[in-house]
């Protein structure tokens, strides 16, 4: 079985804002495009124009409905990819060492040349964040765009994961969650960022910012905002006349 590093020098990961994600799938396709063209084997699509298309994606968006007793139902869009766990069960279960966690930044990767496609890691991941590529028979997963974030062939501002660069709503943030002073760590602190399924003991690096409270607009007293309330002071025309005189 494969060992995890004792610690990592950084904990690079994503902070995903569920208050802001509109569920547009921009991150899904940007990821598909970059990772088809880059790290390892292309992400294949079987029966691409047929009855049951089945492609490999490293990031998918799920939508959930939340019904509430005393307020309107909510819809939450939930993008999901590898969370680059500190205590990654997908790594420890790997029989060949193909699955590993990088000691320098904590990114969890699959070394495709060592992967035998046994699928144990996908079974071990409680988040369902890994996908076996049906054409190549190797395990695919989010690389956190390891071939972008340090890439000296890219302008510095583009050295971030493709999904973060493309997110139109700005709902995805990238940084070092091991550094409490980083922008992402501060965002997590400010907005009550959460671990996904902490009871699994996986210690995910990626964090989710919960939706802000919804449907809270209080029933107000519009008249109390008025000085003086037109209804109380000889009707609308009187109010109009007085106000016009003051202009």
């Amino acid at each position: 079985m494969t060992t995890l590093p004792q610690s990592t020098r950084a904990k690079l990961g994503l902070v995903i804002d569920l208050d802001t994600c509109v569920g547009c799938h921009a991150c899904v396709i940007s990821c598909k495009g970059w990772n088809t063209e880059n790290y390892g084997a292309p992400l294949s699509d079987l029966d691409a124009y047929g009855a049951e298309p089945e492609g490999t994606f490293l990031n998918r968006v799920h939508s959930f409905e939340v019904t509430r007793d005393s307020a309107a139902p909510m819809v939450v869009h939930f993008p999901k990819s590898c969370l680059h766990c500190d205590n990654a069960p997908c790594v420890t279960v790997c029989p060949t060492g193909a699955s590993y966690k990088r000691s320098e930044d904590g990114i969890v990767l699959v070394n495709e040349s060592a992967c035998i496609g046994c699928g144990l890691c996908a079974w071990a991941c409680p988040y369902g964040a890994r996908e076996m590529d049906s054409a190549e028979k190797v395990m695919k997963k989010c690389t956190l765009c390891v071939d972008r974030i340090y890439n000296e062939n890219l302008p510095e501002e583009d050295r971030e994961p493709a999904c973060v660069r493309t997110c139109p709503a700005g709902a995805r943030h990238f940084g070092d969650l091991g550094d409490p002073e980083s922008a992402v760590s501060k965002l997590v602190a400010e907005r009550g960022g959460m671990d996904l399924m902490p009871e699994q003991g996986t210690k995910p690096v990626n964090k989710y910012l919960p939706p802000r409270p919804r449907d809270t607009l209080a029933t107000p007293d519009l008249a109390s905002l008025c000085d003086p309330a037109p209804e109380a002071a000889s009707g609308f025309l009187g109010w109009l006349d007085r106000t016009l005189e003051r202009l």
């Binding site: 547009c24 799938h25 598909k32 495009g33 079987l46 029933t219 202009l247």
Partner: protein, 934 residues
């Protein structure tokens, strides 16, 4: 075992980046196309581009799969089987252009109106309209009539612009944002970016929409309104704000026609001898010209004349909306909301507008010459789209929304709604519509425009329409975008006259772009007794094997968006920002590998073969070698051409200037776009700001300053209403009088959608939305995007689900007064309880788009279009009324009423199930594992 392999962390990304403009939807974002050799490897957003600032949606990033779509047409096609079958032979371009010329030349010489040329979602309407004008046919328009003309026309008439390409919320400053009836796609990336900005600073977003998905899912507050009642809801907000005195009187006096005096006898404005509208000066009590210097215009009192009191517009407005019929209690049931929701939203608008006022220390001077030392903003912004406009009360509803924004002083002020140049542009500054034609002659002027009274209708003396779509007739007086959705049915019925050739571009009229799709397919194939087709000839241009291709006699294959020149022009639907003038191009970042040509270049070639004015030189040779040559050298007015950047012989002119032969090269160097910032003092109050007006003249947007006031009261509407009351020479037919009197109201009014009488048998509303990851029918040919949306489940509310005992895996039969469809059902609680909905345009005809005939798009999907007739059900009055807005003719898609029942057990294929069309393109590859090698 810990084995960390060495990685190449800096792989070469591409050989070259070519910057052009996306065309995966109408948003027109800038894209970086990464090339490996001569192949496209990867597409991302262009960080410098004003529209998207580097971000890109799912569609944009999937552009590579559209470019490589197996549905791409390969060569011109000539029909050899019956229409609709899809039996074609590939022919040469010489043969295709000879056929088209042989068909069109005699029409131009004898009866140019027998060509009906309509284009879909193309972005070259100023060019195709110019071509049609030169040909001489009055029958040209684009897709606005079935899209959102209510939104556009109501905005232009009320305040000189509307949403999307007309204007945008002040995303950086607004503190309260209300978004009404926006499908998930409009206006894709800028709205998402804007919402992201609001969310980042915790500004409140209120979504008013029957469906809580997409943008509405992240709204802080959701109003699950009943479809077709937005106008009533908005006017109730107006009622509350008026009642509380939470309106900006100073703004109304300065910048709107609120003080104009309305003649008690005619309902038209009192005017002086010079024709200037009059207002009452509070200091003297006299009626004086609205723009007389130094007056204090009154909103409260009228003047006595000829024994009558003539009140200002504002009094009419206040009297109407303060009436109890607009009180929250009176409207809440109809709107499907609670009175408390209306009150709370009105109070929040009032609080933010007046207690969180924004002040910018930016001096400016208004058109009256008055200097202001500050810019004062009411940081409430609104946005709306087809959800409120695609109803038979849509025009008046859109007017109501603009009224609400204007009453609180939140248009063209900081934090509110801002115009994007060349808007603001009031109706008077737009052309009138034209339709006078003669053999061998160009049309007498531009086809489309803004009528200011019955005198501008395009009708013959006996009242019959001049256009095949009956635009600008009494049936749809203000149909500013034409009525594309009526063309095929009118041509088939030969009403108002017979045409010969139907020429369509990029409009899937045989499928998702028509109401009543099955019947439209029958009309396209309808025959006379002698076996000839009722619509004699159909020419179609498309890049892909769409459903419409199968119905054409001649197909002119277009290129993909990466293989062509285009201009996103100020003459058309520009990409400007509130702070800047901007336009952009597409250029061929790759060459076509098929025998296809860009449609606009083909149209120029055809124009030259027909000898159309402006397209040939004096000796009859083609004037332009291709569309790029036209973009560079065509002048609409002296110094004004399709592109505004780098004009003049040296390329140093902005807006106005002589053609520059290097212009396109300069655009390419700059990343595909040009941007020119508006001076700081000209950034707000644009309709009234002297600095803006002067800047706009310098840039060629106007030829002289055009300050104007907003039309709370729309006098042209009153002119049509008066005609319906029997005044004037041009009189509507008697059967339309009552409807015109009711609907051409000069103040916004709500009336129930015309489908309301169907409610008894069809108690539910049915809607479609376009998903964020698809654009119309295009997404299904895209191997990546079709995995996100591959079929169209019918989403039903919890109430409907329980009432009908639906269970997971069930199918439903959805029936309208016109037809039925069968779809799988899915429960969704975040939905208006009386509403069902599904995704738009994902359903496909078998055989189209190079998909497997068993694809879920064909077997698990249906269009709501099958349920929607272009006419309302018969009412027993001997007439058939259009299923459209009576003001603009906009297709009333969202008026649809339905009933639902559980499909019998065992249902597994959607209905209707049309016969397959033969595919004119080869079968697609089965599997993809696409990695680009140079």
């Amino acid at each position: 075992m810990q084995n960390q392999p060495a990685l190449d962390l800096s792989p070469q990304v591409s050989d070259e980046v070519r910057k052009t403009t996306c065309y995966m939807c109408a948003c027109r974002c800038g894209i970086n196309v990464h090339m490996k050799g001569d192949k496209v490897a990867y597409i991302e957003g262009n960080r410098d581009h004003p529209v998207n600032r580097g971000v890109l949606c799912a569609k944009g990033s999937a552009g590579i799969m559209q470019h490589l779509s197996p549905a791409r047409l390969r060569a011109p096609l000539k029909r050899v089987g019956p229409r609709g079958s899809g039996e074609f032979v590939e022919i040469t371009w010489d043969e295709a252009l000879a056929i088209a010329t042989d068909w069109l030349q005699p029409l131009r010489e004898s009866a140019p109106e027998k060509l009906a040329f309509f284009t879909g979602r193309d972005q070259s309407q100023s060019f195709t309209g110019w071509w049609a004008q030169a040909f001489g046919t009055p029958n040209w328009a684009a897709h606005g009539g079935f899209c959102s003309v209510n939104m556009a026309a109501a905005g232009i008439y009320t305040m000189g612009g509307s949403f999307w390409e007309f204007g945008q919320p002040d995303w950086d400053r607004t503190k309260l944002f209300l978004i009404f009836g926006v499908a998930e796609d409009h206006d894709s990336n800028p709205i998402k970016m804007g919402l992201g900005k609001l969310k980042a600073r915790g500004a409140r977003v209120i979504g008013i929409n029957p469906i809580r998905s997409g943008y509405n899912a992240i709204a802080d507050d959701w109003v699950g309104i009943t479809p077709g009642t937005d106008g009533l809801f908005i006017l109730s907000l107006v009622h509350e704000l008026l009642k509380a005195g939470k309106i900006d009187l100073d703004y109304l006096i300065r910048y709107t026609n609120a003080p104009y005096l309305v003649d008690a006898a005619t309902g038209l404005f009192l005017r002086d001898d010079a024709g200037k509208p009059l207002v009452r000066d509070r200091r003297t009590g006299e009626a004086v010209a609205w723009d007389a210097p130094g007056i204090a215009a009154d909103l409260a009192h009228g003047v006595e004349r000829d024994g009558a009191t003539h009140l200002p517009v504002f009094r009419h407005l206040a009297d109407r909306y303060l009436a109890p019929e607009y009180a929250p209690e009176a409207v809440a049931g109809t709107c499907g909301v609670t009175p408390a929701q209306i009150r709370s939203i009105a109070a929040e608008i009032a609080r933010v507008a007046f207690e969180e006022e924004i002040t910018l220390d930016q001096p400016w001077t208004d058109f009256r010459g008055v200097k202001h030392d500050k810019m004062i903003g009411r940081p409430v912004a609104m946005h709306a789209m087809r959800g409120i406009s695609a109803h038979s009360n849509g025009f008046q509803t859109c007017r109501a929304l603009h009224l609400l924004q204007i009453l609180i002083g939140a248009v063209e002020t900081p934090g509110g709604f801002r115009f994007k140049p060349p808007y603001p542009k009031p109706p008077e500054a737009h052309p009138r519509p034209h339709a006078s034609h003669a053999p061998g002659q160009p049309l007498d002027g531009p086809h489309l425009g803004y009528p200011l009274g019955p005198e501008h209708l395009l009708i013959h003396d006996e009242g019959t329409p001049k256009r095949i779509d009956k635009a600008f007739s009494w049936e749809a007086p203000l149909s500013a975008h034409g009525l594309m959705h009526m063309v095929i049915s009118n041509a088939h019925a030969r009403d108002p006259y017979k045409i010969d050739t139907l020429f369509l571009y990029m409009a899937n009229m045989a499928w998702n772009s028509s109401m009543n799709t099955s019947a439209v397919m029958d009309m396209l194939t309808g025959q006379n007794e002698d076996g000839s087709y009722r619509i004699p000839r159909i020419i179609y241009s498309d890049a892909y094997s769409s459903e419409m291709v199968a119905f054409a006699d001649l197909v002119l294959p277009d290129t993909t968006y990466l293989e062509r020149h285009d201009c996103i022009s100020l003459l058309d639907r520009p990409i400007c920002e509130a702070e800047a003038l901007a336009d952009s191009i597409r250029w061929p970042v790759v060459s076509p590998d098929r025998d296809v040509r860009p449609f606009q270049s083909v149209l120029l070639d055809l124009g030259a073969r027909l000898g159309l004015p402006g397209m040939v030189t004096e000796d009859g040779a083609p004037k332009f070698s291709d569309y790029a040559d036209y973009i560079t050298h065509h002048e609409r007015r002296p110094g004004i051409g399709p592109l505004a950047g780098w004009r003049g012989a040296n390329g140093n002119c902005a807006g106005r200037g002589a053609p520059n032969p290097d212009q396109i090269a300069r655009y390419v160097e700059n990343g595909g776009f040009w941007i020119d910032h508006i001076p700081e003092e000209a950034q707000f109050y644009k309709p009234w700001n002297a600095a803006y007006q002067n800047w706009a003249v310098e840039r060629g947007l106007y030829d002289s300053p055009q300050p104007y006031v907003f039309n709370l009261y729309l006098e042209p509407m009153r002119k049509f209403q008066r005609a319906a009351e029997g005044h004037g020479d041009r009189q509507p037919p008697d059967h339309l009088r009552a409807r015109l009197r009711e609907t051409m109201d000069p103040l916004p009014r709500w009336y129930p959608p015309f489908s309301e009488p169907q409610a008894e048998g069809f108690p539910l509303h049915a809607l479609t939305q376009r998903p964020m990851a698809h654009y119309h029918s295009w997404g299904s040919q895209n191997a990546w995007l079709r995995q996100i949306h591959g079929h169209t489940p019918l989403y039903v509310s919890g109430a409907i689900w329980q009432q009908h005992g639906f269970e997971e895996g069930d199918w439903a039969i959805l029936t309208s007064p016109h037809g039925r469809i069968t779809l799988p059902v899915v429960r969704m609680d975040a939905l208006n309880p009386h509403t069902v909905w599904t995704w738009n345009a994902v359903a496909k005809r078998r055989g189209a788009w190079a998909l497997d005939p068993k694809a879920p798009e064909a077997t698990q999907s249906a269009l709501l279009n099958h349920l929607i007739h272009e006419l309302l059900p018969e009412k027993g009055d001997g007439l058939r009324w259009a299923n459209s807005d009576p003001v603009t003719g906009q297709a009333a898609w969202y008026d649809l009423r339905v009933k639902i029942e559980k499909a019998p057990a065992g249902q597994s294929v959607s209905y209707p199930d049309h016969s397959a069309q033969l595919s004119p393109v080869p079968a697609p590859p089965r599997d993809l594992a696409h990695q680009t090698k140079p």
